[in-house]
């Protein structure tokens, strides 16, 4: 059996607008992924810690507060410090110029308002699914040996 893709959906900062985060979380779950939703008002540190603890394959951050240029770089930096190779994607109210900057910085993908959830599912399956499959085979092999 292939391993399910594990995704952490995070709401960093003080912003309480969680409609998008919850809709995406529900859609990913319906698409067969394991979803961990952090709930609101999380610090970047807490999100990175949870992602590592939960051994997720992907972090999705939802930001509508305008703090994206502070929060995304901070999360990327913390992941690097912890040597955690977990890709980060995002969504929210983010201007085009900033989307380009964030993707250059290393955020894998920003999904803007109005993106169909099917597009997000497809992107995750195409970009994360294969790695997960490979690593799950690796993990399985390890397990047999132990």
């Amino acid at each position: 059996m292939t391993k399910k893709i594990r995704v952490l959906i995070g709401k960093p900062g003080l912003d309480g607008h969680d409609r998008g985060a919850k809709v995406v979380a529900a859609a990913l779950r319906d698409a067969g992924m394991e979803v961990i939703y952090t709930g609101l008002h999380q610090t970047c540190e807490a999100i990175v810690e949870a992602a590592i603890q939960e051994d997720v394959d992907l972090i999705g951050l939802s930001i509508l507060s305008g703090a994206h240029m502070t929060i995304f770089p901070k999360v990327l930096k913390l992941l690097k410090e912890r040597k955690a190779n977990i890709p980060v994607i995002g969504g929210g109210i983010i201007p085009q110029d900033d989307v380009k900057k964030l993707e250059k910085m290393g955020v894998k993908k920003i999904f803007g308002p109005g993106t169909p959830t099917s597009e997000i599912v497809e992107w995750i399956n195409n970009n994360i699914g294969k790695t997960v499959e490979k690593s799950s085979k690796g993990r399985k092999a390890k397990k047999v040996r132990s």
């Binding site: 900062g13 003080l14 912003d15 309480g16 607008h17 969680d18 409609r19 985060a21 919850k22 809709v23 979380a25 529900a26 859609a27 979803v35 939703y37 952090t38 709930g39 609101l40 610090t43 507060s65 305008g66 703090a67 240029m69 502070t70 929060i71 109210i93 983010i94 201007p95 085009q96 110029d97 803007g112 308002p113 109005g114 169909p116 959830t117 099917s118």
Partner: protein, 546 residues
């Protein structure tokens, strides 16, 4: 005779093809092709509609409605430093805005200072930063508080911001009893939808009843709670849920006020409402009319209010931010115009029209001016403000008004069965209902059962090219520098003493407002005041539901 002609028409209709579409409102109320007197079997003009300014207020809360005075044009705005916001207010007033509405940044909404580590990156982003009285003095510099009414979208720290406004008034020579405006101060919908909270529900309700008591004695023209469906809708609720949950919250405030020993007619006339105006034109109009009728009946019959002002529901409306698209943003001007028109036909007292660029950032001056002009076009060019409740008596609108009312009562029964609004919040009832509706709407869009132009129909490939407002990072530095300056200049010993008094008042149950006013006068920061209360009241953690 009439019946047989209707039957003949129905036969003819059945033989004609219909468009392949799901004919329902956005809330899912199924729609017939035509409404006739048969859809209003027990319709009684006096009982169901009455006259404007008279019970049950279905046709509006004022005798003259817009023939007497147009609605207040109140654009919700605020960004950057207090100075930036003051400049935006003056710009809007110059272009014909008739009321102010303050948007605070997240740290302020959450009762945190700009130099709090949690505020990093958020200062001045989504609204204006307010740390101390000094910031409020700057925001309202040159704006006469006796001539303009101000609405403040503030919830957990509503008492502190109101206190700051009162002191700014004093400094301008305007006594508190002349101040007009609104604080949102609606914590119930925060736990349900908007999710900006500090304390748990019970202490939040205590702060609110303290405000009700204080204002009825000292700030009598102030709207003490703006009971808000807006955020419930934005979080994904349907029109029916928005209507039902908002009114249920309103009744809960009334019950807490009565429980706190206040006579209902002393505080109920100052309760106001805030609704969303979404895209389903007639459903929205019906929602506003049903809301007024339900409120009037329940206030009179259940809560035994005697003063007609306690029966009437006054409300502000904002067009639906969640309907705007990042794709083809200019279309948002048109969406907003339709939504604003529904609000006006529904009889709103005050209106905010969203700007086309808000799916990217806070609005530019140009975008917000177009949004304001949209209201002015409706008011001065379309003629819809010339006759009161012009859709009253429409078979469809009256049917839909009745249906919205009926469905709201179904929800009241469910909420009552759970023990009321607070227990239902603890059980996650509202949160689940709203999240479910949001997801179902998204699925309906993706299955193309519902349409959104630019999203799932008439899409365009190219990326939009519009101007976006930028808030520079220096705003945060400047705000923190100003906060440090205030802290250096104030009398620290006095601040400590006043915070100590506030803490004592929180512990011994005395009204918090006078103590908060003293803290504000001593230039205590918002964070210091909120943290003092946190020590007594604790903090809220929500159950995670999706």
């Amino acid at each position: 005779m009439a019946e047989s002609r209707k039957k003949q028409w129905e036969e003819k209709y059945k033989s004609c093809p219909e468009r392949d579409a799901k004919f329902t409102t956005i809330s899912g109320i199924p729609l017939k092709p035509l409404y006739t007197p048969e859809d209003l079997p027990d319709f009684d003009y006096e009982r169901d509609l009455g006259y404007p300014g008279e019970f049950p207020f279905t046709r509006g809360v004022q005798t003259t409605m817009y023939r007497g005075r147009l609605w207040t044009m109140r654009q919700f705005s605020g960004m950057g430093t207090p100075k930036d916001t003051n400049k935006r207010y003056k710009y809007l007033l110059k272009h014909g805005q008739t009321g102010l509405s303050v948007a605070f940044d997240f740290p302020t909404l959450y009762g945190r200072d700009s130099d709090d580590p949690f505020s990093h990156g958020e200062v001045g982003r989504c609204g204006v930063a307010v740390d101390t009285l000094r910031d409020m003095e700057i925001i309202f510099d040159g704006i006469p508080l006796d001539k303009i009414s101000t609405s403040m979208t503030i919830n957990p720290p509503a008492a502190m911001l109101l206190a700051m406004y009162i002191v700014v008034g004093e400094k301008q020579g305007v006594p508190a009893h002349l101040l007009t405006g609104t604080i949102q101060n609606d914590m119930l919908k925060e736990y349900q939808a908007q999710k900006t909270w500090i304390y748990p529900p019970e202490p939040s309700m205590r702060i609110i009843t303290d405000i009700l008591a204080f204002c009825s004695d000292h700030v009598p023209k102030w709207n003490t709670i703006s009971i808000s469906g807006y955020h419930i809708r934005e979080a994904g609720a349907t029109a029916v849920q928005e209507l039902a949950f908002t009114l249920a919250n309103g009744f809960t405030y009334v019950e807490y006020g009565i429980k706190a020993g206040l006579p209902v007619d002393k505080f109920a006339p100052r309760l106001s409402f805030f609704f969303n105006s979404h895209l389903d034109f007639f459903e929205e109009i019906a929602k506003f009319r049903a809301a007024r009728r339900i409120w009037a009946k329940v206030m009179r019959e259940k809560y035994k209010a005697q003063d007609p002002r306690s029966w009437l529901m006054r409300f502000h409306t904002q067009t639906a931010g969640c309907t705007l698209t990042a794709q083809q943003p200019e279309n948002n001007i048109v969406r907003t115009a339709f939504e604003a028109l529904a609000a006006v036909l529904g009889g709103t007292q005050s209106l905010h029209t969203n700007s086309m660029d808000e799916t990217y950032a806070l609005p530019t001056e140009k975008a917000v001016k177009i949004a304001l002009r949209t209201q002015q076009l409706i008011a001065y060019e379309t003629g819809v403000a010339n006759v009161i409740d012009p859709l009253g008596g429409s078979y469809y609108v009256e049917y839909l008004t009745n249906e919205m009312e009926r469905r709201a009562y179904e929800y009241f029964d469910k909420i009552n069965a759970l023990g009321g609004v607070l227990p239902a919040i603890e059980k996650g009832f509202f949160q689940k209902e709203i999240a479910k509706s949001a997801y179902e709407y998204q699925k309906a869009i993706e299955k193309r059962e519902k349409y959104h132009v630019g999203i799932n129909i008439f899409q365009e490939e190219e990326k939009p090219d519009i101007e976006i407002l930028k808030i520079p990072p220096e705003v945060e530095e400047e705000q923190i520098k100003n906060l440090k300056q205030v802290k250096k200049e104030r009398n620290t010993a006095k601040v400590k003493e006043k915070l100590h008094d506030l803490r004592k008042a929180a512990e011994n149950g005395e009204n918090l407002m006078p103590r908060i006013l003293e803290c504000v006068r001593a230039y205590a920061t918002l964070g210091e005041m909120c943290n003092t209360l946190k020590e007594v009241f604790g903090v809220y953690r929500e159950p995670i539901i999706f």
